[in-house]
Symmetry: D2
Subunit: 334 residues, 4 copies
């Protein structure tokens, strides 16, 4: 029986509690939050869970085997570091930490102590991404040419991070999970409409040596919610529309292929437009699979799907995007 402590019971905390509550071989021993009203809500629903006002009480509780950290990004590193030092497995909310350096220290510590260090990139456990991964692993798309993602809605302006740090980790973790090549460089542009200089609209391009390109459009200020990703191969293409209730993933038997030509000017492009296939997706709640993967990884000492490797790679891109934003969109080599 793995005993769990959860630090932070804000927006995401109740989902974490509910999903870990339903897992076998695990017990939620305590939840910490500095806001009394949040703990009050917890106590009504789960009277048996211990309540702490300080996360350190969880980190210091010797009965706790694993800590889940669901707090603002800047506090990820100090809390996770202490937890690992105290010998506890750690599941961090995304993004993993505020800097690549912080990620590296945490990873080193986890490896030294032989502890699981996982990041909650929930989307990797959705039926949609599992199906797309399956399709791409089976080489159905051919050579992958681009990934283009739009993730916009009327969202809560975060007070401490910009919109890329808030929304892009979803797409960056998906990209990293689906496509293996190391990114070469990034460009980021954007605008802040508040006085704190955190961009509420931002655009990120990731460039790759192979000619693959990825682009991300993130905004907290759209009147409608759009969650759309296109993945283009030279055999087939995918549209993943997460707002669709049932037909989230569509595989288009559509392709373009350029032929070799003597003269550079002479382009010969073959087009093909064909059938569309809409696969049935697994409906399991993704966060339940996250919980399951975390617990299994602890028990079997294995690397979880949403490992620290994906976690640090996401932060690498975000850190580079900050640099590019400061340099007014100039290319930043990763």
């Amino acid at each position: 029986m793995i005993q769990i402590g959860i630090i932070g019971y804000g927006y995401w905390g109740p989902n974490l509690v509910r999903n870990f509550y339903g897992q076998k071989h695990c017990l939620i021993r305590a939840v910490a939050d500095s806001r009394p009203d949040r703990l009050q809500i917890l106590s009504q629903l789960y009277p048996s869970i211990h309540r702490y006002s300080d996360g350190n009480d969880i980190i210091n509780d010797p009965a706790i085997d694993a800590v889940i950290i669901s707090t603002p990004v800047f506090s990820h590193f100090p809390l996770a570091q202490k937890a690992l030092m105290n010998g506890k497995h750690v599941l961090l909310e995304k993004p993993m930490a505020s800097t690549v350096n912080e990620c590296e220290i945490l990873i080193e510590l986890a490896l030294k102590k032989n502890l699981i260090l996982m990041v909650d990139h929930t989307f990797l456990y959705t039926g949609a991404i599992e199906k797309i991964k399956e399709i791409m692993d089976a080489d159905i798309l051919g050579n992958i040419r681009y990934l283009d993602s739009t993730r916009i809605n009327l969202g809560l302006f975060q007070p401490d991070i910009n919109v890329l740090w808030d929304l892009a980790p979803h797409d960056l973790s998906i990209l990293r999970y689906l496509y293996n090549e190391e990114p070469y460089s990034v460009n980021a542009t954007g605008i802040s409409h508040t006085m704190n200089d955190f961009e509420n609209i931002a655009y990120l391009t990731i460039n790759y040596s192979s000619g693959f390109i990825a682009h991300f459009n993130c905004s907290w200020t759209s009147p409608v919610k759009v969650r759309m990703m296109l993945i283009g191969g030279d055999k087939k293409m995918i549209i993943y529309n997460d707002v669709e209730p049932t037909e989230k993933v569509k595989i288009y038997d559509t392709a373009y292929q350029f032929k070799t030509a003597e003269e550079k000017k002479q382009i010969l492009v073959d087009y093909r437009v064909g059938d569309i296939f809409v696969p049935k997706l697994n409906n399991t709640e993704a966060l339940a699979s996250v919980a399951n993967d975390f617990l299994n990884s602890i028990q079997e000492s294995k690397l979880p799907r949403s490992s620290y490797k994906i976690g640090i790679d996401v932060v690498k891109v975000l850190e580079a995007s900050d640099k590019s934003l400061k340099r007014k969109g100039a290319e930043v080599i990763i």
Copy 2:
């Protein structure tokens, strides 16, 4: 009776002929195209129109008052220059020319000779853009914060220009028509999947001194056709979805407004989500209105809606985007 000559009878030429054919006070005297099969198609539908294999025959025909140039971009300048020198009014397909310098020479010539010089930015004459213009002129949106456009489909790779020069002129002319501020700088990123180095996917950001931002996502390699533009104000927001058959323009009574705060860190953002209004749009074919505006401008010596001013401003942004692409996305001041 204004006598018209049309140079180029390719993809767009038949639409030009059909729409000018239906105008009063105008006669299509001749059409020129070097491809015999194109002229053959013309002769079946319109036996009364003269057919030339060389555009210069139109420019030199003294009976012709106005020339429409619907040819590849690189030929816009020499043809338009000769036509203006010969005292003919000119309607150019978009984009106006290959460089800002070419545009300037043409404008100077037209002004000196007191001739109409117009660019066929057809979208400015659609019911959708007319309605959006009306709404924005009535200050219904409040302070405009951003414009975000996606224009992607499985399109014909152009052999001589990249995807921005091919698709963005539509959106850039709309932006210029709807929003008055001069752009400050651009960033452009993209990729070419062919060997001629013309980008088939490209992303363009336009930065403004006021904090307004515009972004354009253009691609010839999407499995689906997307034609979507968001315009966000601090009172209301618009979504213009040109793929929708009837509900193209939606006005959202949705807004975000940040309050002044002592501390920079403390953001206070007010959100409002309200009703949606879908106005009925005028259904007149836009190109018929283009034809009408061109002919009226000639008769009344007035500036047409899609004037050379919009034409050159579009080319300014495109030229700057080329520079930014070459500098790997770095900011280029316009």
Copy 3:
């Protein structure tokens, strides 16, 4: 403090418990269900609620003031009758009972004993129907000409009732709530694809003396879920699409109006197609409002919105539809 007993903890029971649990001035004292596994689920979530295996224990519990009956239709009457005889207020799941006669006996009993008798027609409490009611009460649609509803999906075949008794009560209660005229007659057709002769696809027309007409298309065997209702007036029309996540109600400034003509053959119909208005809807969970209305009606001895009057009128139409189905679609006067 009103003490509540709930009979039946199947599909809908957990929603009833959750929503009454959140109400002030009320306490769920006990839940009854004959299935031990259902009570087991209840005990995990709400350990403080008494559990009975027999609904009669609830009816006979003197501490209970009000009984909610969420059981198969055939058992509504005997349970409700006993509960009313024992002096308890009653909230019945829809449809109210198996026959009009049963409804009449229950109503008489409730009136004699001065008890609240309410039917859970949940849809009357949704933001969508509240908004449509508001629009129709303000006479925005003009003379109402028709209501047309499609309610189909791949649904659970009910073992004891046909698809009309299962799905149409939603639409029939909406119709009755929105439109006041007494129906004149019904026609019903349909088919059973199982051996128990309960139709799994059925079509119902309700005829009115005024020329208003209502039609209902119900099926358990559609590959997609459709929940669409059209309401046509001679000034405006409404489409209520319950499957839409946000834009459920659209008001079309569209109308047709026939002019008086001397000759019968000569029809002069005026058409108008105009703007569309999509009102923001209240998002409160409808069942919470049902609970609130039931409790308020008990406390203030008032008629709830979803009163026994609507309940019996729905059963009148259903009973007539059964007769029409047996008479192979022939008109049955109500």
Copy 4:
């Protein structure tokens, strides 16, 4: 070279002219219409076609081999009868004629004279219906259980026929083409909101001995255009949404299957929800294929796809629907 005469140049006439104009082995010799303005429009577009103000001039023109009759329904029979008597092949607009008896007389005459008698049920030649036919012929759907069609919009009220005679022929011909069983009976209900007693909203059920059922919802008074057909089999189901620009036909790997059970009351239904397949459809204009089939049938003396057999079967159902409407929805055996 087959010489064609077309009677009626109203709404559909220009489409007929344009599509027959493009066919090989055929020449449009003359078009007749009593309205001078219609002939004026024709003369501008096709100056070489003879123009008659009286359809009899076409029927009596010895140079004409085949007559296309695109006039109001009541005139189909007299015109077609005369044309056949004069030895001309006939293509009739849908519906074939006003009564079954008229259809029979025309068929007998065509057979006796060895002439082609075809009805323009255009939908049978669309890519969508061709694909659905292919799927059903390959027995992919299993046993067909139902067909359900909605064909509504804000349409022109016809002065001489009700909405079923106007809109249902499309769906009835599709049904007849796709599904072979003879219908057993019909029920029809509806309402007229004008004074001429022609229903502008009507509902039609067709009953079959096998347990298959078909239902049609037709209206001229919907604020939106809906063209949706569901076809349910016990292996797979199809949704044909003709309003969709590209994804018109979707095949759902969804089914329900009831198992044999000892007791009648005990229903055991197996559900399956699976992938969706969206086949690419042929984009050829359907009316061009109609023209081609008519001309080929003349040359090869073969039965066209949209034969008089389908034509008369459509009229049989319509005639029976009129009887049912008069009998207030009662079943009418065909």
